[in-house]
Every structure is written in structure tokens, then in C-alpha cells.
């Protein structure tokens, strides 16, 4: 096993590194990473941002939004939690989780934490989840990554993934909500997240792998930053990759109620029908038409609806109120 000590807390770069190791570097040996992020919401590959994330809250808290290349549901990560990654050669053995999770369970056992698998390849303590795991297979590589809640802000996690109730019809993968816990609450002795990392990394590497560390060259680091931009930190990978969906949402504004019925495909509004008891100098068809073709994110809606002259045309309803409410 090869270990790369990853100091970066930039989620885009860390996903870029996983991708680089899996798709370009392709080491024969298993690579192991242990890392963390500033506050971030990570979506599963085929999830819909609008269905999973409380976007106004995430904006207010300045949380990163990123789409993973692996499956499963949305998770919240911060500097109180850790992510671990194993990158391996894919050997036609099919899906294998225990191979990567057993060393993590053994390492936790050394800290006297009694953890177990649940049916979804997550790890639990007394029935509460503290680790979610997912994988992607890319060519000859397999990337297994998992999260560890150590002293994560659970309140922020709950708030950022609590989505207003409105109707969305889609075929996207839905998150499974489970009760969670932090590992630090189950430790006899209180330790810092940094100490926890040291103990986990030593236990997982074991004596035989301790010295087997890899440093990336300057060129490689630049390549990783480039992959972060092209694969993870851009509009298309976050919004453009939302599976097609239909959204029914009612906005309650000082000027009245607006009912939105939108079809969104590849991150853009394909069809829109807007009705309600608000007053406008425009007819409903003209208002609906103003939405069609716009990218479905807050900033694009704000810019597009303003450019299309909607501002001031709806009595006591501003374009920014609409953009804030929709996306």
C-alpha cells in the first residue's frame, strides 16, 4: 500500500487527486489517502441538487457544492470529519466493500470503538451511522471513498440537507436519511481530529507500509489542480449533470402567490408554465417564456430574468426574490 499525505482541505482538488491517481497515474499498488474538507455538500453522481440541498442555507453558510463521481447520497463534510480513499486496480471481482472497510473497522477497534456494518455498506455505532461509503470504477481502476464523522457539526449537516417540501418528479438517485453520530462521542479519551488522523493512518498502514509514502511532483500537483477545475469545480459538473426533472413550486411573495411548473434538462429550463394570483403588465405566456432556456441556478436566473426585462413587471415581486426561492 502507498500512502500520500494529503494536507489540502479543498474538496475539488482532493477529488481531482483521486481522479488523477485512478485515470492517469495508475499505480499497481493500492493508494491510501486520508483527508478532510472545509464545509462541503457532496452529491452522489446521479443526484439532483434541487432535491438534496437546502441551497439558500448552503449559500448563506458559504458551503462548497460538489458532485462526486461515485454513487449514493448526499453527505455534509467539514473540518471535524475525515474522508478516506483507497484507489486500486479493478480485478473483475465485482463490487467489494468489506476489503476496504475491514481495515477501517480494525483501526477503530484499536481506539476501543465498537463499530459495525449496516446493510448499505455504511459503518455504525449502536445503530447510528458515522461512515458512508461509495465507489466508482473507471477503466482499470476502482476508487473507494468513505466518510468518517469525528466531530462534525451535525446541526449544520441537518440544516443543509433539509429541503423545502415541494414536488419534484425525477428518476434521480435519492438519499437515504439515517440517524448519525460522531466518533469522538464514543471515545473514552478526548482527542483532536488531527490526533485521530494520525492514529487511524498508522493503524491502517500497519508496520509494513509505514515507510511507503509517495510525494507528488510539482507538475503532478498542477495537473491535479487542472483536473479539479475540469471535472469537479465548474457549472456543468454541478448543475449540467443534474438528471432531468420536473419541479412544481409555489412562491409566496408580498405581491401574491406564483406557481411554477418547470422542466429542467441538462441544467437548463426546457419548459415553463407560471400562474398565480399576482399582478403583472405581462400576460402569463410572456412571463413563462422568459424562463425558457435559462440555466437553472440562482445567479443565472437572476441575470437572465433581468436581461429579459422581468424586473418591475410583477407587482411587489422582484426577480431576485424569484431566483432565491427557485434555486
Amino acid at each position: 500500500m502507498v500512502y500520500i499525505d494529503l494536507e489540502s482541505t479543498d474538496v475539488y482538488e482532493n477529488f481531482g487527486l483521486e481522479y488523477y491517481l485512478a485515470e492517469e497515474k495508475k499505480l499497481e499498488d493500492t493508494v491510501f489517502l486520508f483527508w478532510r474538507t472545509t464545509p462541503t455538500l457532496m452529491l452522489g453522481k446521479y443526484q439532483n441538487l434541487a432535491e438534496e440541498v437546502n441551497l439558500p442555507y448552503a449559500r448563506e453558510q458559504k458551503m462548497n457544492l460538489v458532485r462526486r463521481m461515485s454513487g449514493g447520497g448526499t453527505i455534509y463534510t467539514d473540518l471535524g470529519g475525515w474522508q478516506f480513499t483507497f484507489i486500486d486496480r479493478y480485478k473483475e471481482e465485482g463490487i467489494e466493500f468489506k476489503k476496504y472497510l475491514s481495515p477501517v473497522l480494525d483501526a477503530l477497534a484499536k481506539l476501543s470503538v465498537k463499530a459495525e456494518f449496516n446493510g448499505r455498506n455504511d459503518l455504525c455505532i449502536e445503530g447510528r451511522k458515522f461512515s458512508g461509503n461509495a465507489q466508482y470504477h473507471l477503466g482499470e481502476s476502482i476508487v473507494h471513498h468513505g466518510s468518517l464523522l469525528f466531530s462534525t457539526d451535525i446541526e449544520k449537516m441537518v440544516n443543509s440537507t433539509r429541503v423545502d417540501e415541494y414536488k419534484i418528479i425525477s428518476k434521480s438517485i435519492q438519499s437515504v436519511r439515517e440517524r448519525v453520530c460522531n466518533i469522538s462521542d464514543h471515545l473514552k479519551e478526548k482527542i483532536s481530529p488531527e490526533d485521530f488522523k494520525e492514529l487511524m493512518v498508522s493503524a491502517i498502514l500497519g508496520e509494513e507500509n509505514k515507510a511507503n509514502r509517495l510525494e507528488l511532483s510539482k507538475e503532478e500537483i498542477l495537473r491535479v489542480k487542472e483536473l479539479a477545475k475540469t471535472h469537479f469545480q465548474n457549472w456543468d459538473s454541478l448543475y449540467g449533470k443534474n438528471p432531468k426533472f420536473n419541479m412544481e413550486k409555489i412562491g409566496r411573495f408580498p405581491g401574491g402567490k406564483m406557481h411554477f411548473s418547470l422542466e429542467i434538462q441538462k441544467g437548463k429550463i426546457q419548459e415553463a408554465s407560471i400562474s398565480g394570483d399576482f399582478f403583472s403588465t405581462l400576460d402569463p405566456e410572456e412571463i413563462s417564456k422568459a424562463f425558457v432556456g435559462l440555466a437553472f441556478d440562482r445567479d443565472s436566473l437572476l441575470k437572465g430574468l433581468t436581461e429579459r426585462g422581468l424586473e418591475g413587471k410583477l407587482y411587489r415581486i422582484s426577480v431576485s426574490e424569484i431566483a432565491d426561492m427557485l434555486a
Binding site: G44, K45, Y46, M69, S70, G71, G72, G73, G94, I95, E96, R120, N121, G132, N133, A134, Q135, Y136, H137, L138, G139, S170, K171, S172, I173, P243, K244
Partner: protein, 80 residues
């Protein structure tokens, strides 16, 4: 001759998968070993490759559809 590409069984308990994305469109040439579509099952995203060289002639399901293990997803007209 038309050849079927099916949902692979990636582990003994696997029953079905979601076909999440088409990587090739009808009419596209396909090489042996090239990925044609992506599936998600048990939080794992896998690309399914063609075992044949030819042309993709049919996508048998839409993105987001759940398809059973070993059921047909794509048809390839094999190059002789």
C-alpha cells in the same frame, strides 16, 4: 449480427441497477472494450463496456430506468 449488452452481475446479491447515463448514442461506432453506458447499484458507479465492435443500433431504456441483472440494455450491430 446484432449483439446484446446486458446489466452485469457485479456481486452475488445484485438484482438490478439504474442505467444512469448513455455514453454512446444510436448510430455511434463502438469499439470492443469501449464504455457504452453507466450504471449505479449499491452506491457504486460502473461503466459497462461493449464486448463487440460495431454500431450502437438501439438503446433499450432511458436514463434513470431500473433494469434487472442480465437484462438487455443496448444492441450492437457487430462489424463482420
Amino acid at each position: 449480427m446484432k449483439k446484446e449488452i446486458v446489466i452485469p452481475k457485479l456481486r452475488p446479491e445484485m438484482q438490478e441497477a439504474v442505467v444512469c447515463a448513455w455514453l454512446k448514442e444510436v448510430g455511434d461506432p463502438v469499439k470492443k472494450g469501449e464504455p457504452i453506458f453507466e450504471i449505479e447499484t449499491d452506491k457504486v458507479v460502473t461503466q459497462v463496456e461493449s464486448g463487440f465492435e460495431g454500431t450502437l443500433v438501439e438503446q433499450c431504456c432511458e436514463e434513470g430506468d431500473t433494469v434487472g441483472v442480465l437484462e438487455k440494455v443496448a444492441l450492437i450491430e457487430e462489424t463482420a
